[in-house]
């Protein structure tokens, strides 16, 4: 079942403002039975002040459609027409503490019904249909087939890479690669038939190069020998809390340095290793800083692209390996929050 927020559940099980509003003077209707959701939004607007004094809804749809409709009425009651026009579907989703990506279309339906009702009140033209369409292809970014098709057609996209650049689809976990490839190949085929692109340009299913595997940068030791660093001169921003001699626990945990180096010398070596590896991380848009060293534990903070990166574990593994080799004793590297 869907992972609905408590607020979505609350607004579904106890909907506010459900039912017909008999004295409505602005009504917006969107959706249809065939697409599986429909919403009738009824507003009572004060013609003098343009304030929405009351709003009610009737919805045909799933739990999140009903919750979104109810949330919408709560959001707009008391607002002026001009204020209500600024409301976006994201506002509805935020009000409900978020919606599953597959269900974002429910919030879009709310926004559309509002636009239709406002248009009915002011006599404007109704906005073009922005209702989402087609199967949800990329779950990470919530991109559906309709949006991808529009991007491919408008921009004459013929590679998977370009589709990802334009729509973000497939840019994260890439598990939608196969349906994405199929969609691109199908649409390109149609575009060739329509004369929009040349046959040799069209994407052929299965012809995409293998996804480039990002080199696990943490393991890569630069080919060129690192510039010799003046020894015992840790760079300024790095602060090392020395293992306190008075902390017997930490000392007990720490195996005796096999290298016979003092704790301070070890700390200097460690900071040097991390300094040497930093350019590699920076190339990838991240950074790593030494925070502390306690016995066999080296604490670092990951920033930028490194933090939250799925490769963080292997990055840390790379650092640990290098330090272990240098110090000659097992070291664990742990990420910590920046103080």
């Amino acid at each position: 079942m869907w992972d609905y927020s408590d607020k979505v559940k609350d607004y579904f099980f106890n909907p506010r403002n459900a039912g017909a509003l008999t004295d409505a003077n602005a009504v917006g209707e969107v959706g249809s039975l065939s697409c599986g959701d429909a919403l009738k939004l009824m507003l009572k607007v004060n013609p003098e002040t343009d304030v929405i004094e009351d709003a009610k809804f009737q919805t045909f749809g799933c739990g999140s459609a009903i919750a979104s409709s109810s949330a919408l009425t709560e959001l707009i009651i008391g607002k002026t027409i001009a204020q209500a026009k600024l409301l976006t579907n994201q506002d509805i989703a935020d009000f409900l503490d978020g919606l599953p990506p597959e269900k974002m279309h429910c919030s879009v339906m709310g926004q559309e019904a509002l636009h239709a009702a406002v248009a009915a009140y002011t006599g404007e033209e109704v906005d073009e249909d922005e209702h989402e369409e087609g199967a949800l292809i990329c779950k990470c970014f919530g991109v559906d087939a309709g949006m991808i098709e529009r991007a491919i057609r408008t921009n004459k996209l013929t590679t998977l890479e370009m589709v990802t650049f334009y729509t973000k689809a497939g840019g994260s976990c890439a598990s939608c690669r196969e349906p994405l490839e199929e969609l691109l190949a199908d649409i390109n085929k149609e575009m060739v038939a329509e004369g929009a692109i040349r046959p040799e340009e069209a994407y052929v299913f299965g012809s995409a190069p293998k996804p480039k595997r990002k080199k696990a940068q943490g393991f890569v030791i630069p080919d060129a020998a690192p510039a010799p660093m003046p020894p015992a001169q840790p760079s300024a921003p790095i602060q090392i809390a020395m293992p306190a001699a008075a902390a017997p626990v930490a000392v007990a945990e720490a195996p005796q340095p096999a290298s016979g180096l003092s704790a301070a010398k070890e700390a200097i070596l460690v900071s040097k290793i991390i300094e040497e590896m930093r350019p590699t991380f920076r190339r990838d848009g991240g950074d790593v800083e030494l925070v502390d060293m306690e016995g066999s534990l080296v604490l670092v903070s990951l920033v930028g692209a490194c933090s939250g990166c799925q490769l963080a574990a292997s990055t840390l593994g790379g650092i640990a390996q290098k330090i272990t080799e240098t110090l000659g004793r097992p070291i664990r590297v742990m990420p910590v929050a920046r103080s």
């Binding site: 209707e29 959701d37 045909f60 459609a65 597959e102 199967a135 949800l136 299965g206």
Partner: protein, 405 residues
């Protein structure tokens, strides 16, 4: 509030079933004591081989296979289906057409879409009528010397409608094609005697009849040419590589034994409860109807379509009342299309979106059915009051005209 104190009612047995406690008990020793590989010589696996043989024989009885080696254990119904269709295409060079129905499970339809699109296979999808019955004339017309395999489900997972597979198999053999049936919903619910039919291949799944998940089987009639899907070790006589899932197979055997022992009485009782449920719902709630073929369908499946409301909303309310069911609604699956089965049966959109499937098991009681009958009218009327397509006493055909359709 008082509903929450009552034990939950599970009426989603076509999705999966509760594993019988006896089945769990039978499986347990094979996790921690007799955990050895059945292929090993030593004592840790010595009893496993015998237990596997026993399980195979129990399943053989349940499906009426002539020989126990006609059973190939797999990871489930989907693997069995994929194996059967791909094998049938590979062993018959020159035949590159598949015939199936429009209402199959995605395990068949998605595979067929792929084969059609990427592997040069022609696929005929035979339509059904409003009761979900196969269009036999269209089937006859599609059969030819090019047909490699025909695959029709034994019983439909959504409506319970049963296809006359034995007759359909004979028709397939007239043109020399192989016949496969996806019997995932039928095994354990209907009496099956494969040796008296012409069916070449049959897929089944353990967790649909109170066995463990992650296990299924492919029945392969003796003498049927075959190409494995998974190659590797010699397991299943070289037809399905991979170390046997011994505890699960033994659990499946126990479940098969228990199911067969009481199938006749269970079926009759379930059918009675199903009828009580259907009649009660139709009597108490207007603007709804039962789908599927009333004359030939599973004893445990009732799919009722409620007009002007959406299935997921009904399910959420049912869940609140402690009742588990499922729907053919679009919203529960994440796609915007309602059930392909109900659409193939030409059930109007107004009702297809609001179709709810109650699937019983032999553990279902009369009291549970009555709880559903008590809960449903309030749920349906509450949601209809919120629906723009509903006007109080019925449909509102012209009152609601959205900006786009």
């Amino acid at each position: 509030m008082k509903d929450t104190v009552l034990p939950p009612v599970y009426l989603d047995n076509n999705a999966t079933t509760r594993v019988f406690p006896e089945v769990v008990e039978a499986m347990l020793p094979y996790f921690t004591e007799q955990f050895g590989n059945a292929s090993s010589i030593h004592a840790f696996g010595s009893e496993v081989g015998g237990a596997l043989r026993q399980a195979r024989k129990s399943l053989q009885k349940l499906i009426g296979a002539e020989f126990d080696h006609e059973i190939i254990f797999t990871s489930g119904g989907s693997e069995s289906n994929n194996t059967a269709i791909r094998s049938a295409l590979q062993v018959q060079p020159g035949r590159d057409e598949v015939i199936t129905s429009a209402v199959e499970h995605p395990a068949i339809l998605t595979l067929c879409d792929w084969l059609e699109k990427h592997e040069g296979v022609t696929v005929h999808r035979i339509p059904v009528d409003k009761l979900g019955r196969l269009d036999i004339d269209a089937y006859r017309a599609a059969l030819s010397e090019k047909t490699a395999v025909v695959s029709f489900m034994w019983a439909n997972n959504e409506t319970g409608t049963v296809f006359p597979v034995d007759g359909l198999a004979e028709l397939a053999h007239e043109v020399g094609a192989l016949f496969h049936t996806d019997a995932v919903q039928a095994v354990g619910k209907l009496p099956i005697d494969l040796m008296s039919t012409e069916i070449d291949m049959l897929s089944l799944s353990s967790h649909k009849f109170h066995g463990p998940k992650g296990l299924g089987a492919l029945y392969l009639r003796k003498g049927t040419r075959f190409r494995p899907l998974l190659r590797g070790g010699h397991q299943e006589r070289g037809r399905r590589a991979g170390t046997e899932n011994a505890p699960a197979i033994i659990g499946l055997g126990k479940a098969a034994e228990m199911t067969l022992a009481t199938m006749a009485e269970d079926s009759a009782r379930m059918a009675g409860l199903r009828d009580r449920l259907e009649k009660g719902l139709v009597q108490r709630i207007g603007h709804c109807f039962v789908t599927g073929d009333p004359h030939d369908r599973l004893p445990n499946t009732a799919t009722v379509a409620f007009e002007y409301i959406e299935g997921e909303a009904i399910l959420l309310k049912l869940n609140q009342a402690g009742i588990a069911a499922s729907s053919g609604s679009a919203c529960t699956s994440g796609s915007l299309e309602p059930s392909h089965v109900l659409r193939a049966m030409d059930i109007p959109f107004t009702a297809a979106h609001g179709a709810i499937r109650f699937s019983l098991s032999r553990e279902t009681t009369e009291e549970e059915i009555d709880r559903v009958l008590d809960a449903m009218p309030g749920i349906i009327s509450g949601l209809r009051e919120m629906s723009p397509f509903w006007s109080g006493d019925g449909a509102q055909p012209d009152g609601f005209n959205p900006a786009y359709a």
